[in-house]
């Protein structure tokens, strides 16, 4: 969304529909934010301006992008708040963020993001700061709003449960590199990359009561000391010499999608 700090390195290409975002002029790119692409971030409290009412923060998107008059925009803010399931929205519009609970703040952020009905909603760990019941509610809300507005959601998360619930396709990344990509059903049922597999195995399960939680040995590398070759190689149970020398190319998975591993676990049957 063009929010990276000055001097950041951006590689590759970003396409929104058929438009190359990086080729756009800064002004056009700024207009894209909110209109075609929206962001909801993980910490809903710090993403809301403490000095302004929640309603105004929703209305201002309509006022700036569409030139809607303030009164009309505030009326629309009430509708958006009620759409995201906030009780008594006509009172809540005039409240300040600190008067909202964690789950309501996240709903308010979603209302802001939806104000202009964007094509793409980027949800950056939308549920990390929330407790389990609220988390489930927010995921259900996102799923229903996706249907209603016909938009796509790009969900960035550590939470495999949220992926299973919301996503169609999943891209597993490690240290900034794509490890495996494919349909959620296929990747979850038959992970071909050792990292994906280890990740799924480390989830708590209801059917393995009393067993120790599986964990991946070691810790994720800091961005400055990513290993040579495959970034996951120092922690990988299957790593060989070739993994230390070169990054594996992406190859087709047996059930569609791609996997980047020298020893893709085709023969493994994960159950």
């Amino acid at each position: 969304m063009g929010l990276q700090p000055k001097g950041a390195t951006v590689r590759g290409q970003i396409l929104l529909g058929k438009d190359d975002i990086q080729a756009m002029a800064p002004r056009a790119r700024r207009r894209l934010n909110g209109q075609r692409v929206s962001l909801i971030s993980q910490d809903a409290l710090s993403a809301l301006n403490p000095c302004t009412t929640v309603g105004y923060q929703i209305a201002e998107v309509l006022m700036v992008h569409r030139g809607v008059a303030k009164q009309e925009a505030m009326a629309r803010a009430v509708e958006l708040l009620s759409l995201t399931g906030i009780p008594a929205p006509s009172e809540r519009v005039n409240h300040y963020p600190h008067q909202f609970s964690g789950g309501m703040r996240q709903r308010a952020l979603i209302a802001i993001a939806l104000a202009l009905e964007p094509e793409l909603l980027i949800a950056d760990e939308p549920t990390t700061a929330l407790d389990a019941t609220i988390k489930a509610q927010i995921l259900t809300l996102l799923a229903s709003l996706r249907e209603r507005f016909g938009m796509s959601i790009l969900l960035i998360t550590h939470d495999m449960g949220a992926v299973a619930r919301l996503a169609d396709r999943v891209l597993v990344m490690y240290a900034g590199q794509a490890m495996e990509v494919g349909d959620v059903a296929s990747v979850f049922a038959r992970p071909e990359h050792p990292y994906t597999r280890a990740l799924l195995e480390s989830m708590p399960r209801l059917d393995k009561h009393g067993a120790l939680l599986e964990a991946i040995p070691g810790t994720p590398p800091s961005p400055s000391e990513v290993a040579h070759g495959c970034p996951f190689q120092p922690r990988c149970a299957f790593a060989g010499d070739i993994c230390r020398e070169q990054m594996p190319p992406a190859v087709e998975r047996s059930n569609g999608g791609h996997v980047a591993c020298h020893f893709a676990l085709r023969e493994m049957n994960y159950a």
Binding site: M1, G2, L3, R30, R31, L32, N33, G34, Q35, S38, L39, S41, D43, S46, A47, L48, N49, P50, C51, T52, E60, V61, V64, H65, Y96, H98, Q99, L109, I112
Partner: protein, 305 residues
């Protein structure tokens, strides 16, 4: 909000009362007024008669109670020298001080706040360096020296403004600039650091993610959130300036409260000194209260606490 108001009122009353008490005691330590009012060759009997007239030979607690009782109804007595009522003397000098304070603060805000904001937005850029240098320079120059320097350059050298005195708008310019230079450094630096604290907050990034133009992000989101400490500092400076900028008023012979206080102290004109302090203390309390309210209007989180 009402509780805040009540608490501030009680605190304010205590501040004014302590100021009255401290001045009452201190002026009486400063010496015997009759030794200044009467010529040196006056006899002890003549002095005694004058003390009796001025009420100075009563016991201190009695004097104190009379003083407080009169002060409560706004009567601070008359000057020892020209018998003019203290209140009317203060009221005559007050507008000059207010005009000077207002002009210099407006001037300081006009430059310090925008420059502080721009310095923070383009951190380490040209404006930032400029503000740092100007702030350090400004803070290192005592105001009486700046005043003399300005007189030397603009009044004596270039003959643009009068050297001293009160009266026309032209008289106002040099003292106002002097005081603005005095206020500028702290104001600009506080604005800058306060903005720097707000800029990395996620709600600033969130505003950009909403597609808000950068000028709106800085002008609305960042400025409003960074304003609280700046308002508090401004209140303090207003309080200082309505107490009279003694040095600046003296250098420019500006007929303000500060100069009135100094002259009266030198002449041991007890009623005038006490009256000036009382009015300034009340003014200070009102400005602080206004600032507390303004801060709550800017920051709703404080409002609900």
């Amino acid at each position: 909000m009402i509780r805040v108001f009540l608490r501030q009122s009680v605190l304010g009353l205590l501040v004014v009362l302590s100021a009255l008490t401290v001045t009452f005691v201190l002026v009486r330590f400063s010496g015997d007024p009759t030794s200044i009012i009467l010529p040196q060759e006056a006899t002890e009997e003549q002095r005694e008669v004058l003390r009796q007239q001025l009420g100075l030979n009563e016991s201190l607690p009695a004097q104190y109670l009379t003083y407080l009782g009169n002060a409560a109804v706004g009567n601070f007595g008359r000057s020892y020298f020209d018998s003019e009522a203290v209140t009317s003397i203060v009221i005559r000098h007050l507008p000059n001080t207010l005009v000077l304070a207002g002009a210099s603060l407006a001037l300081a805000c006009l430059f310090a706040i925008p420059l502080g904001v721009l310095a923070a937005v383009w951190r380490d850029g040209v404006i930032d360096r400029f503000v740092q240098v100007v702030a350090v320079t400004g803070a290192s120059m005592p105001s009486f020296w700046v005043g003399l320097l300005l007189i030397q350059i603009f009044a004596v050298g270039l003959n643009l403004f009068p050297t001293y005195g009160t009266g026309s708008p032209a008289h106002l310019i040099l003292p106002a600039i002097t005081l603005a230079i005095y206020v500028f450094p702290s104001l600009a630096r506080l604005t800058r650091s306060s903005m720097l604290e707000v800029l990395p907050q996620s709600y600033v990034m969130a505003a950009r993610a909403k597609g808000m133009p950068e000028a709106r992000v800085i002008g609305r989101t960042v400025l409003r959130n960074g304003m609280v400490p700046v308002l508090a500092l401004l209140a303090l400076e207003i309080g200082n300036l309505i107490g009279g900028a003694v040095l600046t008023e003296t250098v420019f012979a500006w007929e303000g409260i500060g100069r009135l206080a100094i002259t009266s102290i030198q002449r041991r004109d007890f009623p005038v000194v006490q009256g000036v302090v009382a009015y300034v203390a009340v003014g200070f309390v009102f400005v602080t209260m206004a600032a507390e309210i303004a801060i709550r209007l800017v920051n709703p989180k404080l409002r609900h606490k």
